[in-house]
Amino acid sequence: MKRIALLLAGALLLTACAAAQPRDTRVTLEFFQFKPEAVETFDKIIKDFEAAHPRVDVVQNHSPTAESAIRARLVKDDIPDVIALNGNSVFGELASAGVFYDFARAPIAADVSPSIQRILDDLGTHRPGERNGLPFASNGNGVIYNKDLFARHGLSPPTRWSEVVAAARRLGAAGVTPFYATLADAWTTLPAFNALAGNVPAPGFFARRTAGKTTFAAEYPQVAAKLRELFGYGQRDRFSRTYEDGNQAFAQGKAAMYLQGSFALPAIATYEPDFEIGTFALPATENPADTRLVSGVDVALTLPREPEHPEESMAFLAYLLRPEVMTAYAREQRAVPPVENPPSDDPALAGLMPYFAAGRLTGYADHHIPLTIPLDQLLQQFLIDGDQAALLRDLDREWDKVAARRS
């Protein structure tokens, strides 16, 4: 009985395939990507790919709220053919739910640096040993600074926490806003938080927290205090400015430093700053050798668990992952190719490249915190009211609640 049913299903499937895809017809792939600023770059890549594959049409689909959009599509079982998403905790949750392809069976990206691939795999996979996404571009999460203002006030990029504080004070005393802060958008607290959380607490904090061996209250007071001090050097209306305001204001030279990752560089560039932009890793301690750069997978590529057009989707993915395509993308989008010893001649990224070359990288701490904990909003609240004990208590309590719900 079962065999007949299988046979029947197989026959149906065959006829369905034959009906849906007669030979010599074009295949249309939907390429879903999350970066509004990279639409044109991807259009160029798609054009080149289509020229080499006349049978395949690639349609780019981008959404400003891509993570909600992709979830809604998943709920409807309507999954795009090729997907590009930020390598963050949403990616990890989707991968863990088993909706993405397992590339461990079909390795197509041999050139990717293993340490960067590990950052992506660590976000979560469906089953241990699976590989549910491939890195396409990396980012560096440091401090963006205005080289002209630094030179005018005799400053060089700080390498110790005390030098950060001294630079901010000197700029402030000279009437220059040290940091442009955009706290109306709660998420803009995260780049600075990640730089501090990735460097101040001892490594392995989240594993210990999960095992119940430590708490935020025990290990995060310094992170909170330093975060508050940094944003204290922001401009007066810091709580009512948004990310877009910040990109524009920084490009207009209204502040010396901007606590954002390299992903903000293309957005700043659209306002055509008339000064040179530099970057440095935020030093969180007094020992320069300890400073590690927070880096993540800015763009991760993946396919649905069961691709509708496996051959064509894989061909497009392989094309995207060609070293020359990744490098060209990285140059236009001010990103770092996820390969060993990444080449980059971008002067704005020069301050971060030594960390990539030496492998002094650490992942985003916030990717270890379940998404349902409103980390960014708790940090925003803390920066408004300055109640450090409440922040740490809320983090611990939310963590325990989520752990209890999911056990």
Binding site: A184, A186, F239, S240, I384, R405
Partner: protein
Amino acid sequence: MRTYYWMVIPALALFLIFHTVPVLQGFYYSLTDSPGYGSYDFVGLKNYASLFADDRILDAYLFTFKFAVVATVATNALALAIALGLNARIHFRTALRGVFFIPNVLAILIIGYVFNYLFANSLPAIAQAAGIEALSTNILADPDLAWLGIVAVAVWQAAAFNIIIYLAGLQTISDDVREAATIDGAGSWRQFVSIVFPLIAPFFTINMVLSLKNFLQVFDHIVALTNGGPGTATTSVSLLIYSGGLEGGEYAYQTANAIIYFLVIVAVSVFQMRVLQRREMSA
């Protein structure tokens, strides 16, 4: 008799397919640990048990009820006052009625973003020029004041629709009743209290019930103005269901929250109808 059933059945079918079935589906998912896609397991009533121990849910309920009650009272007071004005013999009456209805045809999100800009830039600039310290910063960035900004936008937008209902009500009052009252020597306040308000009581009931129900589901205003912030100060229940369920990956847990909230709103609406209708009859 048959024919009447055929008139009713299509509507009933649409209601069942697009309302009742999704609700039942939601209830099914609320008994699982599904993130909305992929594989999931049954967890029984665990989500419901966790809900009652979650202080974020409680905070969202408190905020939403505070907001809804204040906005409902303010909207109806404002709408009734404007409707009385628009029902009086004034110049440009028809044009003014049109003007006051405009906020209702604008999308809340668009209004929200416009007001967001006004609160962030225009209002502080005006307040600084006028020397009003309390308003010289963006009130949406202040956890204690942000909800008032949302109330202001919500009332401004919602009053339009309530004005129309009150106007319709006021036009059902025939002139002879008022004339009789005037001849008996009743002033305009006395007329309002003893004649006009009791006669439009059914309209008051429907406005109160609909306003409260709509404000309890407040979502668009908050997305456009504060997105639940600063911190979590203006997170309404609907926003929490959306952000926790769709952005936070706890679809099943927030679906359980939605089921409970549905029951709460039904209970509140029924209670309100009972009380207000009884008042209508005694009046």
